[in-house]
């Protein structure tokens, strides 16, 4: 069918791009000059005005694919963006109204679709463009280490990941809501949307509202209405026993850059989109995140961050991506009230347990 040919063509293009050796890739010739600081919007107290609605959705992944250079060429970026557009276009096409049910045993899809296929692409809004930072089309959000990949986990972090995986085998992971991931419980955003660091997910609602005063900066994440309150000024010590969601954040201005230092992040929060890390325990006592918000134009914040967590990682890692101003609404993400999915998952596990015990249970009449 045409839809499949188009989809697979797009996919093949993406495969080629993702696996090709891009070592020869060059940055675009024209570097992007930031607007003179004097022309940027400012608050009454003279600071850069970061207030408004912003999005960090991007096709650029957290980690770089093997063999790619940090900067993609304009042509490579265009090909990736065309691949995304082709997938969306093919997803819009009509399909056979007399189609049969999907195959028994699953449709072979992977990832979050989990072999049952998820739902139509019109619900997905993961960004249509490659991130463009300092004159480069970026192949990864991570810029340090230089290979664009997360540093290796420590042996302790690997051990925690194994312990968690062991605990989650069988029905244990479905025993109660507390064993389910934070996003499924509507407690925290997908992946690390709210952060820190604030990293976009590959699905939707990568949107933020920033409100700024002289003493505080508030960042509200649409997914799932997570609110960070950053106090400005000299930090006062916080007991390590205090571990709120998104941690304890203090901000300061270094020239026109807002610098935010965060510690005391809740231990159940995961730090990145990393598949492997999500199997690990989460933020440790040693985690420190430094974020830098720099308004390069009225509509662009260059967002940079460094994660230093020696209990989890063998080295610090840093990333950068643009946040683009939205002239659109942020909508409520009232997740708890309509969360059929969590009850479906738990009741599904109970049904499977019943089926399983019915098979194993000896028949008393025998």
């Amino acid at each position: 069918m045409p839809i499949h040919r188009a989809s697979f063509s797009a996919l093949a293009g993406l495969v080629l791009l993702a696996t090709a050796n891009h070592a020869a890739a060059q940055a675009p010739a024209r570097a992007t000059a930031a607007r003179p600081a004097s022309t940027l919007p400012r608050t009454p107290d003279g600071r850069p005005d970061l207030q408004g609605n912003w999005s960090n959705a991007t096709m650029t992944p957290l980690e770089r694919a093997a063999g790619q250079a940090r900067a993609l060429t304009r042509e490579q970026a265009a090909a990736l963006e065309k691949g995304r557009a082709d997938v969306k276009e093919s997803g819009d096409r009509a399909i056979d109204p007399n189609r049969p049910p999907p195959p028994k045993g699953g449709d072979g899809s992977t990832g979050a679709a989990g072999n049952v296929g998820g739902y139509n692409y019109f619900f997905i809004d993961a960004g249509d463009h490659v991130a463009f930072v300092n004159g480069e089309f970026r192949s990864s959000i991570i810029v340090s280490p230089a290979n664009g990949r997360l540093p290796a986990l420590t042996p302790a972090a690997r051990a925690w990941a194994q312990q968690r995986a062991a605990r989650n085998r069988g029905f244990g992971q479905y025993d109660n809501p507390e064993n389910r991931p934070l996003a499924e419980r509507c407690l925290m955003s997908f992946g690390s949307n709210a952060g820190p660091p604030m990293i976009p997910n590959a699905f939707y609602n990568n949107n933020y509202t920033i409100v700024q005063t002289k003493d505080h900066v508030m960042i509200m994440t649409e997914m799932v209405h997570d609110v960070r309150t950053i106090r400005m000024g000299r930090p006062t010590p916080t007991s390590t026993d205090v571990r709120p969601w998104m941690g304890v954040s203090w901000g300061r201005w270094e020239g026109d850059t807002l610098v935010v230092e965060t510690s005391n992040v809740h231990p159940l929060q995961v730090l990145s989109q990393s598949v492997f890390l999500n199997a690990a325990f989460g933020a440790t006592d040693s985690l420190r995140v430094t974020e830098r918000f720099h308004l390069t134009r009225p509509n662009v914040i260059l967002y940079r961050f460094t994660v230093n967590d020696p209990l989890n990682f063998t080295a610090p890692w840093s990333g950068e991506l643009p946040m683009i101003r939205m002239d659109e609404q942020i909508y409520e993400y009232a997740c708890h009230e309509g969360n059929y999915a969590l009850s479906n998952i738990l009741s599904g596990a109970r049904a499977m347990e019943r089926d399983s015990s019915a098979v194993k249970k000896p028949n008393p009449k025998e």
């Binding site: 276009e89 979050a112 997905i124």
Partner: protein
Amino acid sequence: MRRTFALVIAAALLLVPSAPLNAHHAFGAEFDPNAPLRLQGKVVKLEWVNPHTWIHLEHVNQAGAKEVWMVEGGTPNTLLRRGLKRESLAYGTEIIVDGYQTKDHSLKRANGRNITFADGRKIFMGSSGTGAPRDGRDPTEPPTPPAAKKPPGGALIQ
């Protein structure tokens, strides 16, 4: 038969080597790959709620009995941003859904793997955006060539 979402996820995994496992939930934990189904009937209710939209339709089973099924879609926020709302899909509209039933078979719920009108057209169509550069693009850069833009919101209202 491969489905679009599967392709999207596969593509996302290629572009995002470390794609998130923790989307709102893993579909494989909620739906039964051994319980495929095809539903056809009129829309009787819409739950335009987060974290997922749920479309209710009245399906006539093989025995001729009417059953109301609930079909899971994505966040309504994305659709709202494209100009779509609950009224974009009128009650009484006949739709076809293929997907998989929840693992708890006592529930008449399924994922909306494909949701179309009776003639096979997609209920909503995707959009490459509303024009706002909210996807990482530096708005001062000249655009790369892709994709013809569709008008915001491809909703078909019947």
